[in-house]
Subunit: 304 residues, 3 copies
């Protein structure tokens, strides 16, 4: 039963509950018109304490496409934060007006704190570098739809595996499914942290610095950004970044039914030429993100 | 007849007109579903020249819950103010697109000026330290619903009574009802101004520095913030503020049917432990604020 | 066929296509209630990379009055631009959520670039000092409705004719109609550029520094701002600006059926006293701007 629940961490929901959400998302995609009025009279509070056009648009569009409405702010400056009110009081007040809230906050734990002070469902849309659970739902739905199943895949994760919360969450989520092989592709400086690996079965992952070495074995390639500010010096950055830019050339030996994912925004880690390859699914992924948020809103509101 | 009128000052409406609004608000609370489409096709312009999440959310939620729509801005920076246009021209233009407008403005008199330049109903949502009439409507509705009547009460007002416009407006509004006793509780430095007292009958108010002295006599306790920046020095502030922080301890001798109100946001003038006391009604008050704004919008638009 | 098209420059549409839009706008004005649900379930992305309350309100009101919804931002700061994403990627992502987009951008060509990267209709709402085609549509609809016809007029354009993109676009648009005489009224320093005149037939325009000289001959007077920052020194500005401020006195000899237009916002180039003259139509013009945008949205979405 998801009605009235919060979503703060990707693993707040059981596999069965995730299945419920994904099945609903798939039905919305098939029968979008049937959902046009489902949230009539319902109000989503869209609380973005730091800007994130992409995530905000995705949530707000989701609510609008269900016939609901949105009140919100898109940066802390235009909110009453400046008056020194606690997150607890803010959420208690907003719960007077709204039926469900989505919160992005620069401070880790803010959405959790909010959820502890209200019965209104709270969805974490990113708290600092910590959690961003609806990105993980998006990634899972994309794999489920495009690869038919969430089990039995070799998934390559490429780029900055050290700092990228998206990757960490996805690994933790995917290891709950059967027969998943992880291939971690990154420069030495940006390897996946030990505490993530410690959680995996020993023969279920493989680490490499070379995308070329493993590209032919992948069912899924999940690209992430290599951010300049992660490096100590410019030379290291320049030397390394090119190895992790995906091009048509690099894709030469890859499988026919590979899917190439990316959480977006991309800077230059996937060459624009790749967009035209039918295996490039990152914009579809963005669209699935909206649908999974529609399903999530419906479930948490208990709207049938 | 409220259709087409503006609300600039709390006393723009007669007691009868207020009654009309409160009765409608009570009906909305009872039969909210009946109002879901009342403002279909109507547009509220939400003009916040300075940020106020709370008030803005309350108005916008009110309009959405009536099936209407909202266009607006939440700070002057993202408006065309910078182009040097007069408030008169701005409102004339906005009246081309909208059916009703709510305006918060840092300058006293800006909403009045706007109302003099258009037939579209204008609601003042706060102009500088001057007026904030829908807060007063909120306070009155809260008392009317929770105390069954707006007459025959002993109401304590506690905190900064010198600068708080909310308190000034509430006193002026309450004195129009029968048999109201005011108890002004504040440090000497923050006493209620003479011009407010001069307006009251001599035996209808009492001044004290001690909340403890009077707490057992109150039917209503209206708390306000003691703002640090009102004091000349830190010591005075530290010495005084604690006397005006409401705790469970301080409530020991109070009446069973007391109601504790606060316009919010609170900083620390009510201890969080008090929230669990059933007499603490400040979050209900916030909710009544949305309903009274729904009623106000309906009346000014002349929607039945 | 306008369905699926973009509007980047005023002349993207043929005269026949403009006629189609204007005819629809006129029908909306007459039968507004019939259009209340036309865009139900449709989403407009309102992408304002620089603030423009007036234009933004006009577009968003247009969408709301058609029963559609809006997601958007009103300044670049609260968007993800800061993350270094290209306009192409931004628009591809937004197209995942929305059905149509309107874009204002400080950089010339940004809306064009966007339109080249998506099948979603893009409307240019101003790119730098370059193009602002819906202002031109607004001006044309105003003339068509208030003067019954877009041909056979003497139109005076007064003020800063050198830098005003609105004027340049209007001249280019009006010269497509029959028997239009242009009268360019400006200080020498702010004369209309040669490349605009070169495009006109020699005997179809007249230049003067004096509004008084020509006021009695005009069917339409289009006023624009004389911006202080266009002048090298304060003296020149002070000397010149007064000649180009419209007053009741200056209108003494004008035609009975003259219409006085202005793209707004006005600063002081039209005295407020003129507003009460029935020939002053600039606020009607703003209202027509909303209706022409309603028609445009319907046509580009292919909604009947």
């Amino acid at each position: 039963m998801l009605k009235g629940r919060h979503l703060i961490e990707p693993r707040d929901f059981s596999l069965e509950e995730l299945d419920e959400i994904f099945a609903l998302a798939e039905d919305i995609i098939k029968n979008e018109k049937d959902y046009l009025d489902k949230c009539r009279g319902k109000l989503l509070a869209s609380l973005f304490y730091e800007p994130s056009t992409r995530t905000r648009f995705s949530f707000e569009s989701a609510m609008y496409r269900l016939g609901g409405q949105v009140v919100g702010f898109s940066e802390a400056a235009s909110s009453s934060v400046s008056k020194g009110e606690s997150v607890a009081d803010t959420i208690k007040t907003i719960a007077c007006y709204s039926d469900i809230a989505v919160m992005r906050h620069p401070k880790e734990g803010a959405p959790l704190l909010a959820s502890q002070n209200t019965d209104m469902p709270i969805i974490n849309a990113g708290d600092g570098g910590h959690q961003h659970p609806t990105q993980t739902l998006t990634d899972l739905l994309t794999i489920r739809i495009l690869k038919k199943d969430l089990s039995n895949h070799t998934i390559g994760l490429c780029g900055d595996l050290k700092f990228g919360r998206t990757v960490h969450s996805l690994v933790k989520a995917m290891k709950r499914y059967l027969n998943i092989n992880f291939v971690f592709i990154s420069p030495e400086e940006l390897q996946i942290p030990d505490y993530i690996k410690d959680d995996l079965q020993e023969n279920s992952y493989y680490e490499t610095e070379s995308l070329d070495e493993v590209i032919d074995k992948l069912d899924i390639l999940y690209m992430t950004r290599v951010q300049k500010e992660r490096f100590f010096n410019e030379e290291d950055y320049v030397r390394l970044k090119d190895s992790y830019i995906l091009t048509n050339e690099k894709l030469k030996n890859s499988k026919e039914d590979l899917i190439i994912m990316h959480p977006l925004p991309r800077v230059n880690e996937i060459a624009v030429e790749v967009d035209r390859d039918k295996r490039a699914v990152y914009f579809d992924q963005a669209k699935f993100g909206m649908y999974v948020r529609m399903a999530l809103i419906l479930k948490l509101l208990g709207v049938e």
